[in-house]
Symmetry: C2
Subunit: 231 residues, 2 copies
């Protein structure tokens, strides 16, 4: 059985990605990054999801706060509630973590090389996250080539593959596929500002996107939202 | 004055790279990785070198031992004394750290994006380290493109540049250039197995390469080697 590594944040997209990898016949390994993210609940969700899919789960500690520059890792930058709040004129959201997917994919590549795994699944999405430079297909293609050249894969006559099954999908389409594959979305978090019990706020950029997706897909989000949030 | 980031390991090559960056008119920032390397003396050397060149020095903690797979980070793998000791038939040395430069360059890119720096100097060398996949020009070129696409540089109409001034040079040529630029090589370490005071063993792969380089360049290595080692 061919093995793969799934980058698992504990969010909705990567959980769906894991289910798709399994559905395609891969034996999954999972990799999460403890990068000082505000929403610690994600790592717990990633652990539970890995258990559910019998995937060996590695949490890699990564001190991204050392370089700063993002609302997700730098506590001096506020996370905005509204999706339109941006940094400057480039249209890159303040929740973008500089070079995050480049860094994640590089470390994943090193781990894959050690394990002899040639396939990575990553739940990037060019549609909803069009402001994130590291979610674009051109980046993924070039990074795949860089990793192949920069590791022992090339010398062994092999290519490294980065699978991005969600890249062209709308949030509602992702949720439909996941529901088809039996993903338990109660084992995921999307919220940028969850409460102390890990329940979502229902108001932030990411919660709104998620709730809209569930509504359009015709399903009810199993997470527990505050009263007054329309599901 | 244009700023640059120099990846500084504390070794001979990266120290020379720093001097070259300064000589080319850049104001240098330096970045070192604390990746659980055996030879801790390197980080101290990197600190002293940064001081010498008035460079703001960041040490990024990186738990590469979590993924293992290299004699430099995995204490279950012995560091060989001889240059010919290799892993398997691929000809990749056991001192290769899986995807190391891919990972280093990615994190450097994130830091550069935060700082608004567009130029990275890295002391990779394709000649002496021809067995290291991540020291080859094709890798560097593709990685440069991946970083440009995967960060905000592209959106800002800018390109990211990875400078590799040493890539085609022999060790002796690197040393000649460094001596010309006044590099204090006592502030560097190359040894894989330094003693408790940080002095080199003179016998390992890396020491031999360094000593041969100094001899061919016609200079004496200022480091203190054990008695009986030919300088």
């Amino acid at each position: 059985m061919k093995r793969c590594l799934v980058l698992l944040s504990g969010g909705l997209d990567s959980a769906t990605c894991l289910a798709i990898a399994v559905n395609r016949g891969f034996k999954p390994y999972t990799l999460s990054f403890d990068y000082g993210q505000r929403h610690r609940i994600e790592l717990e969700k990633a652990r539970l999801l890995s258990e559910r899919y019998n995937a060996e789960h590695l949490v890699f500690p990564l001190s991204l706060s050392v370089i700063g520059g993002s609302a997700l890792t730098d506590f001096n930058i506020d996370v905005p509630d509204t999706p339109l709040e941006r940094i400057g004129k480039e249209g890159i959201p303040v929740t973008y973590v500089p070079a995050r997917n480049t860094i994640f994919l590089s470390i994943a590549a090193g781990y894959c090389e050690v394990k002899g795994i040639e396939d990575i699944f990553i739940g990037v999405n060019a549609l909803d996250y069009s402001g994130y430079p590291d979610c674009r297909p051109e980046f993924i293609e070039t990074m795949e080539k860089a990793i192949t050249l920069g590791t022992g894969f090339f010398d062994r006559g092999k290519s490294f593959h980065i699978h991005t099954p969600l890249i062209d999908l709308k949030k509602s389409e992702i949720i439909k596929i996941g529901m088809d594959l039996g993903v338990d979305y109660s084992l995921t978090n999307s919220c940028y500002n969850p409460d102390s019990e890990g329940n979502p706020c229902g108001r932030c950029d990411s919660c709104k996107l998620r709730l809209k997706g569930f509504m359009e897909a015709g399903f009810k989000d199993p997470l527990k939202y505050p009263e007054g949030i329309e599901l």
